[in-house]
């Protein structure tokens, strides 16, 4: 049963591409690399966002490093305990379109595809793990209530994305 589910997940994610994102839904792209440990600083906080908002928001992990294999990606996602689709952006289409800076950056787009927030998930890595500003969560809350996002960008801490 486990193997069947894994096979299904692989088939689903392999067939996933950037255009496949459902139209008219709020989207969050998370830029990430399998060789960069920085994402673990957000394991709990981002995991909580996934659980809380997955019915209203489409979360997608974006891997732009051509060295990231499907196995490495699935191992990382499994280790993080996150259930979310991913895309391999090896041609840097999303990278060039959204211009994230580091591998933990997120980009929040409204249903019309307008960028509402770009940058850090939260500021935990800058405060020895204590989160003082839940940037993405605050932006999501505002977006879903059709209010202006309180902060439109915040610098992320992560590995430099190579363009």
């Amino acid at each position: 049963m486990k193997s069947l589910l894994l096979a299904l997940a692989i088939v689903i994610t392999a067939g996933f591409n950037i255009k496949a994102a459902a139209p008219g839904k709020v989207k969050v792209y998370l830029f990430i690399q399998t060789q960069c440990p920085c994402i673990y600083s957000h394991k709990e906080t981002f995991g909580k966002l996934l659980k809380t908002y997955r019915s209203q928001v489409e979360f997608t992990a974006v891997f732009s490093d051509s060295n990231d294999s499907d196995k490495d990606i699935q191992d990382l996602m499994g280790d993080l305990g996150w259930k979310m689709p991913y895309v391999k952006d090896t041609r840097h289409r999303l990278l060039m379109q959204l211009h994230p800076r580091v591998s933990t950056d997120v980009v929040l787009l409204d249903a019309a595809g307008k960028v509402l927030y770009k940058g850090a998930i939260d500021d935990g890595p800058s405060n020895m793990g204590m989160v003082k500003h839940f940037y993405l969560q605050d932006a999501l809350e505002a977006c879903l209530k059709h209010l202006p996002v309180p902060v439109s960008s915040a610098p992320g801490r992560g590995c430099l994305l190579q363009y």
């Binding site: 690399q33 060789q35 960069c36 440990p37 920085c38 673990y40 793990g129 430099l160």
Partner: protein, 345 residues
């Protein structure tokens, strides 16, 4: 009556002598600058400046060597971060994250009361083709400072500057404190700093050696290439346990000493996870300073237990000509590389 008076005077004299001796010892190893602990330091700052050719500067050396002390109230030390391919054994190498181009990082040496003016550039972007450029930091266990400020992570290309004053003598660890700390540590970002008492360590020795024990958690990528394996680190299942970063490096190239010599070992267990039971076959440690502080003196020890990040100074006399093995007496670690030889000629 006369005998009674004499006895009283003798007792008073003995008590006075004992007190005086204790006071001398107490002052000799006093902590802080001029006996006063220095708390905190000016705020750290970050620059984006040209990076020099050398990755280190100041009183640094690579274990087992010990650097010379620098005179003066302040000591400038530079240790840059660089990603570099490191060989752990003849047929195992991996892309390490290093302090000063080596695993473990260089041994640093300062004196109680000195203010360390520390500089660290993050050069991880120089090897972007093989290892992602990432934030790094440094955490000195020898310092009394606000870690949120001084031990901040800096981005690739940035240079961190901060200072701290050495208050306590000892053998201390430094390591990268950027999350995930476990991964940064098992990738090689650990090292030893020796803080001497203001008047030097007591006693004279013929030879001083630095031994840093650490674990390597690796998984194969093909041929001799390996990469760090966080899963085995979490499970505390190392592939290697080494002294000074290489598998059994002192077995075919023993460290030379002489029979009758007095040897002082500066030992640090950099971990990341296991406890070391440090032992030298054929000798008894007649003097051990736990964490390298002469106030923590113990005698006649066969083995010194060092938890991750613990240090010690160990002294013994080489009994006679021969070959003396130093080991982590947790013998699984010996099989994994934690054994070396001292050859006394």
């Amino acid at each position: 009556m006369k005998r009674y008076k004499t006895s009283c005077w003798l007792i008073i004299l003995a008590a006075a002598l004992l007190t005086a001796c204790y006071s001398i010892t107490d002052n000799k190893y006093a902590a802080g600058k001029g006996g006063k602990i220095v708390y905190g330091a000016p705020e750290a700052y970050v620059t984006e400046e040209a990076i020099p050719a050398a990755t280190t500067a100041g009183p640094v050396a690579y274990a087992p060597a010990i650097p010379s002390l620098v005179d003066g109230d302040t000591v400038a030390i530079r240790v840059d971060v660089q990603h570099k391919k490191i060989a752990v054994s003849d047929d195992v190498s991996f892309w390490a994250w290093t302090f000063g181009d080596a695993v473990p990082g260089p041994v640093l040496r300062v004196r109680v009361g000195q203010t360390v003016k520390f500089t660290m550039a993050n050069r991880s972007s120089l090897t972007a083709q093989v290892s992602p450029p990432m934030p790094h930091s440094i955490d000195f266990h020898a310092a009394l400072v606000n870690p949120h400020d001084k031990y901040r992570s800096i981005a690739p290309g940035e240079t961190l500057h901060f200072q701290w004053t050495a208050n306590y003598p000892g053998v201390f660890m430094y390591h990268c404190g950027t999350p995930v700390i476990l991964q940064h540590m098992i990738s090689g970002m650990t090292g030893m700093i020796i803080v001497e008492p203001a008047d030097g360590f007591p006693g004279t020795v013929n030879r001083e050696l630095a031994i840093v024990q650490n674990e390597f958690y690796l998984k194969p990528m093909g041929d001799t290439a390996y990469q760090t394996d966080v899963a085995s680190a979490r499970a505390r299942l190392p592939m290697f346990v080494t002294f000074n970063g290489k598998y059994k490096q002192y077995m075919q190239a023993p460290i030379e000493v002489k029979a009758g010599e007095r040897v002082r070992l500066y030992v640090l267990n950099a971990g990341a996870n296991l406890t070391s039971a440090f032992h030298v076959v054929g000798v008894i440690f007649d003097k051990v300073w736990i964490d390298g502080n002469p106030r923590n003196e113990m005698h006649g020890m066969q083995t010194v237990l060092l938890g991750p990040s613990s240090g010690a100074i160990i002294e013994f006399t080489v009994p006679e000509k021969g070959i003396y093995a130093f080991v982590d007496h947790s013998f699984a670690s010996v099989e994994q590389g934690a054994i070396g030889l001292l050859e006394a000629k």
